[in-house]
């Protein structure tokens, strides 16, 4: 049985805060839930499925379901980092198809900015029972330097340049200037990016995403319910998920799990990369975008640098408008997890509700993709393809 068309995204909400010193993480989750249900035209009592990941405080869904006092018959707390929420949409569609729930609520929230978290530059030991920790923590892996090794190898293999990577930030900044909630609204140039200080070579400060508080929520429903609601219909037609790691020591940094999750999603959706009108691509760093664009098939492996250059990702200018909210690079990376905002902006585009300056004309087919965890050691990939009906 194909899951193409098994469920629709009926509600999407991005919390407007970027710094939440006055609210708890649990309350931010609740405010996102309220926003997404209101957007869908549904209420608390309609929810019978709940999904969350590692950002949710407490024990998986148990704590948040209790906090919100939901009555659910299906719950899932699969955590694949920032890409969890794309996977949750897919798993909600599976659960709906299997008759396990009708209305699935997915929430994300966090406040790393208020908590002063040095997200990308601090090595964290974690639990020594995690089997890689003792063999890696002494070497100082941080978020940035592990992604940076992917960039370094890409440059070595394919001749990719810092200037080409910079174009990804430039495109995001062109979009963010129109988003009143974006953390970074100034348009930047390639020169601005490559002249910003190196954090971990070859990545500069402006190759990195923002650290922001906030959150988001999604409501996924069965087709009959979507048909009864007043919102434009966003049908889920393709989905894929894949882990990628060090392959037992046969490390290959030239590709990501998107190679597999993307292929699965395109196969289910029966569309090709060239058909996609808008793409939300996970942008923890500029290199993340470049590798995923290649692996999703928008261009040949190794040609990503040339593909993203000269404004090709800018809405109204290039061939592949991406992250028209400003993405994680300029707008928002709530809880250090950008997966949910990727789906939210894709939903806005398909509904025709993106900012008029960045709205893609006749946007009837969109892709959202996430990479969670660390691109250069081990990560999860999740891809969704959605259609406006």
């Amino acid at each position: 049985m194909s899951l193409n068309g098994a469920a629709y995204i009926a509600g999407a909400y991005e919390h407007p805060t970027r710094k939440a010193t006055d609210k708890s993480v649990a309350l931010l989750h609740a405010e996102c839930a309220i926003g997404a249900l209101a957007d869908a035209g549904l209420s608390k009592s309609d929810v019978d499925g709940y999904f969350c990941a590692g950002d949710a405080p407490g024990m998986g869904p148990i704590s948040m379901v209790d906090y919100l006092n939901l009555k659910v018959r299906h719950m899932d707390a699969t955590d694949i980092g920032g890409s969890s929420y794309l996977l949750h949409v897919a798993h909600a569609a599976e659960a709906i198809a299997a008759g396990r729930c009708n209305v699935a609520l997915i929430t994300l929230a966090g406040r790393p900015r208020s908590e002063g978290m040095a997200t990308g530059t601090t090595p964290r030991a974690g639990n020594v029972a995690q089997p890689d920790v003792q063999f890696e923590y002494p070497y100082g892996p941080t978020v940035v330097n592990v992604y940076a090794m992917v960039a370094q190898r890409h440059m070595h293999e394919y001749g990719t340049t810092s200037e080409q990577l910079a174009w990804i930030k430039v495109a995001a900044s062109h979009h963010a200037q129109h988003n009143p909630h974006a953390m970074l609204r100034d348009v930047v140039t390639v020169e601005d990016v490559v002249k910003s200080p190196i954090v971990a070579s070859p990545l500069h400060r402006l190759d990195c995403c923002v650290i922001s508080d906030g959150g988001g929520a999604l409501v996924v429903v069965r087709p009959e319910i979507a048909a009864s609601l007043k919102r434009p219909k966003v049908k889920i037609i393709g989905m894929g998920e894949a882990p990628k790691g060090q392959l037992g020591g046969a490390v290959d940094l030239t590709y990501s799990g998107a190679r597999f999750s993307g292929a699965a999603a395109f196969e289910m959706a029966k569309v090709k990369p060239g058909d996609i009108k808008y793409a939300s691509i996970y942008d923890s760093f500029t290199i993340t975008v470049l590798v995923q664009i290649e692996d999703l098939g928008f261009c040949e492996k190794g040609k990503g640098g040339a593909f993203v250059a000269d404004g090709n990702l800018i809405s109204g200018v290039g061939k592949l408008p991406f992250n028209t909210d400003g993405g994680g690079l300029c707008n928002n990376h709530p809880a250090n997890r950008g997966g949910i905002t990727k789906v939210i902006e894709a939903v806005r585009q398909l509904r025709g509700e993106a900012h008029p300056k960045v709205q893609v004309a006749n946007c009837n087919l969109a892709l959202a993709h996430g990479t969670g965890g660390l691109l250069g050691t081990r990560h999860g990939s999740a891809t969704l393809i959605m259609e406006r009906e």
Binding site: V128, P138, G140, V144, V150, A200, G248, A250
Partner: protein, 133 residues
């Protein structure tokens, strides 16, 4: 730029995961022991109690030559003491996460030949790192 060695932390104890204790005992003795599968004949990294290639538990520790090549690297500039994280592909074929030490970090390049160097840690045995050969 003159090289400065940052303090190297160690996570847990050498027997936190009992089956990999021999690796850390090797480090204490100045030997890089790498896991080798007697069933499929392959080495792997990081060390573990089961072969990630064939799932056999018939494993043996072999002494590595200490020679390798830099597969990728990044110099962490935004740190109290800058350091170079790297993937080094060992002559034995497997690729490990490590640090490049004792050199001008601005001269580190992919493809460079490197040699093993044990660097003391805080709270654990010295850990295997590499310096340009």
């Amino acid at each position: 730029m003159a090289y400065q060695q940052r303090k190297i932390p160690f996570a847990g104890a050498i027997d936190s995961n009992p089956e990999t204790k021999p690796f850390f005992e090797g480090c204490a003795a100045g030997v890089l022991k790498i896991p080798h599968c007697n069933k499929c004949g392959k080495t792997h990294w990081y060390p573990r109690g089961v072969c990630p290639h064939c799932m056999s538990q018939d494993l043996a520790w072999k002494d590595a030559s200490g020679k390798g090549t830099i597969y990728s690297f990044s110099v962490m500039k935004r740190a109290e003491v800058p350091y170079c994280i790297a993937y080094v592909t060992l002559a034995e074929g497997t690729t490990m996460l490590t640090n490049i030490v004792d050199c001008d970090l601005d001269t580190v390049r992919i493809g460079q030949s490197v040699a093993l160097r044990f660097v003391p840690t805080e709270g654990g045995p010295p850990m295997p790192m590499f310096t340009p050969a």
